[in-house]
């Protein structure tokens, strides 16, 4: 994968997000303290925030440049936000299938495979308001996968989960890029998660990348 973020600038409260880099590692972590701009960076890539930029491009597909911006719906980005985002008026199955293309043929991205992989098959008929936090996170990840994304953006998906549940979901996340052939950007402020999950980590502080490299080396 190749994600280019050229001269991306977004004013945040107290500082500007200023990014100019290229990401090639299939499992890249964005690590930094709260309020460093990690979520804003993901939202900029997803198109949910309008930043000025020279270029945001993913594998030859231009998401934005100085002249045009690709609409969010066309970017095919699976975004798993930190906050609760399951549609409260739809049950689990309808949430999962919301973005699923009707003509999808890839068996890896079928409802059966995704729900089996995430262990959420028994939840399909449930009301999303009755799900636990861990179940909600897995359904949100499943919904993003079923939309057939090019790139997966995960914003601290393990925050607020107990240890056992974190380990279970972490195991699924470790297998996920190979299982689905999907590159991902993973926001975290947990070193252990970054070490276990990521090939490369970007250190973000007050909107700027202050370091990057393999997690074991970076956090040594």
């Amino acid at each position: 994968m190749k994600l280019e973020l050229r001269n991306v600038r977004l004013p945040l409260s107290g500082f500007d997000l200023e990014i100019d880099l290229e990401i090639t590692a299939p499992r890249t972590g964005i690590f930094g303290p709260s309020g460093a701009g990690k979520t804003s960076l993901l939202e900029t890539i997803a198109g949910l925030r309008e930043a000025s930029c020279d270029r945001i491009r993913f594998n030859e597909i231009s998401f934005a440049d100085s002249a045009h911006t690709m609409p969010v719906r066309l970017r095919q980005i699976g975004y798993v936000p930190q906050d609760d985002s399951l549609f409260p008026h739809l049950d689990v199955r309808r949430n999962l299938l919301y973005g699923h293309p009707p003509d999808a043929r890839d068996p890896a991205f079928s409802l059966e495979h995704v729900t089996q992989f995430l262990g959420i098959e028994p939840l399909l008929a449930r009301d999303v308001r009755q799900l636990s936090r861990g179940e909600r996170q897995r359904v949100t990840i499943g919904r993003a996968l079923l939309s057939g994304p090019r790139l997966l953006l995960l914003d601290e998906p393990l925050t607020g989960l107990d240890r056992k549940l974190r380990e279970t979901i972490l195991e699924q996340l470790i297998k996920l890029p190979n299982e689905f052939g999907l590159p991902m950007l993973y926001v975290t402020h947990d070193r252990a998660e970054a070490i276990e999950l990521c090939d490369e980590v970007l250190l973000l502080e007050r909107g700027k990348i202050i370091g990057r490299g393999g997690p074991a080396k970076l956090f040594a």
Binding site: A46, G47, L48, P71, V72, R73, L74, R75, Q76, I77, G78, Y79, P81, D83, D84, S85, F87, P88, H89, Y98, G99, P101, R143, A144, S147
Partner: protein
């Protein structure tokens, strides 16, 4: 109740249901727009939409009369090109009720749309949904209770409409006479029994509509 009283009740319910249906698509569109963040002219549109709520109904009726009469710009156009008259017909009753109840529908629906968490709409877009799909599958159902509450309030307001209606539609028994106009006529003629019977019907309709609207809005708050 006598047959002419039933006739007034039936006509009122039909005209008010019609007027509520007529304003529904426009009301939802305006409410959705007003629930969006700043855009050019938003304050002007907001003010115009609210005007019928604060202006004397008779004044609104007079404006409608000037617009929709045969010598008015809209009424004249309709008469010349389609041979259709508005003033002193059932259409005038529907239009007067629609205009007077429009602000109530818009205000309720707008609050409903504003309360929809923007995150859900954003997520729908990341999942490939265009703006129409986001509206129909996310915004509208999530604002549904507030919209239903607004519909019921608008209907109740339409049932109670008097000032604009009497100016635009007159008070023609069997043609434009609504419950309110029939009560007015009964009081004028000293037919107290008729006035009280119809008053009771008005109270029941208004109570059921407002109670249902409040119930829906409470359920929304509790969600």
């Amino acid at each position: 109740m006598q047959s002419d009283e039933w006739q007034a009740v039936r006509f009122t319910l039909a005209a008010c249901a019609g007027s509520t249906l007529v304003i529904l698509p426009f009301g939802l569109a305006i409410a959705w727009l007003l629930a969006r963040p700043r855009w050019l002219g938003k304050s002007i549109v907001e003010t115009i939409v609210t005007l019928p709520l604060v202006m004397p109904p008779v004044a609104t009726g007079l404006i409608l009369l000037k617009l929709l009469g045969r010598r008015g710009p809209v009424g004249g156009f309709l008469h010349r090109h389609f041979g259709t008259d508005i003033v002193f017909t059932w259409r005038a009753v529907v239009i007067a009720a629609a205009v007077m109840s429009f602000p109530l529908l818009v205000r309720s629906a707008r609050v409903g749309f504003q309360e929809v968490n923007r995150r859900y709409e954003q997520m729908a877009r990341t999942l490939g949904a265009g703006e129409w799909r986001v509206f129909w599958s996310i915004s509208l159902p999530l604002a549904g209770r507030a919209i239903c509450g607004g519909v019921l309030l608008a209907f109740a307001r339409a049932v109670g409409e008097f000032g604009a209606t009497i100016l635009l539609a007159g008070n023609i028994p069997g043609e434009t006479q609504t419950l309110s106009l029939r009560i007015y006529e009964a009081v004028q003629l000293g037919h107290d029994a008729t006035a009280y019977r119809l008053l009771l019907v008005c109270v029941v309709i208004a109570f059921v509509a407002v109670f249902s609207a409040e119930w829906l809005l409470r359920k929304r708050d509790a969600r």
